[in-house]
Amino acid sequence: MARLPGGRPAAAAETEASLLTRARAGDGDAFEQLAGMHADRLFAVLLRLLGDRSEAEDVAQEVMLRAWQGIARFEGRSDFFTWLYRIAVNEANRSLEKRSRRSASVPIDAEASQLRASRRDEPPRQAENNELRMALDRALADLPPPYRTAIVLRDVEGLSTREAAEITGVSEAAFKSRLHHARLRVRAAIGDAALITAGG
């Protein structure tokens, strides 16, 4: 049975199948409902990959347009969300390529910073964790896009290796290798001492 992000129940899968059939037949409302089920998480992934809200909004709209244009050709060989995420990753990479000459790294979006700032009254231990989180955000932002994508899909989003490999268009073995190297880079950026302290 198709696995849905967020562990939604089987009834949701039936609804999704029904919506997919209607969307493939050209029902725009069904497409909006179907794609809308994944919109929040999709947008969060784009925000994490791109690090800029306005750019993520622009890419999200483009993803939906491309998905709508391609929905009739979607044959259901993969889950709908896998297919949609693949479009999103491709569009995010395209957007990153466009601005690669402008900046070497992804800015940390104010959104995440605001969420952290709201926790300023928390005790010292929490403050240390927040510092570590900021370092983690920065390390992720500094990763080359394929590495960042691997970590976001597998570790942050919790997709399976098979799903993440399918979305990124590489074999599972290649994906595992990519993920390993990505983690090594983040680990090096943060430092073992800080990680071990946080983990202890």
Binding site: G26, G36, D40, L47
Partner: protein, 97 residues
């Protein structure tokens, strides 16, 4: 640093598979090989702990958990339809290939 035969190979191999080890992706023999090596290797022992902590932190990233997709996420699709303006309705249904 030990110069025992095979040590360097084991160490390099273990370093290259820390992530797979933490992931539970190694077969039984490979897992035992890495585990045995890590027991006597400070670098790899620390590496396993650090890698586990890192993955745990990454899995707990929730800074964007409250994020909602923008309300106009379908605007471009609708704008591609008749009238060419947001809210102008859905475009003609896509045709099957």
């Amino acid at each position: 640093m030990s110069s025992l035969p095979g040590r360097t190979d084991d160490h390099q191999w273990s370093q290259q598979h820390l992530s797979h080890y933490v992931e539970g992706d190694l077969g039984r023999r490979a897992r035992r090989r890495l585990g045995r090596h890590a027991q006597g290797c400070v670098d790899c022992g620390r590496g396993i702990i650090a890698m586990r902590a890192l993955v745990h932190m990454l899995q707990g990233l929730d800074g964007l958990a409250g994020i909602r997709a923008p309300a106009g996420i379908f605007d471009r699709v609708r704008a591609a339809g008749a009238g060419g303006s947001p809210g102008g309705g859905w475009p003609a249904p896509p045709r099957s290939a």
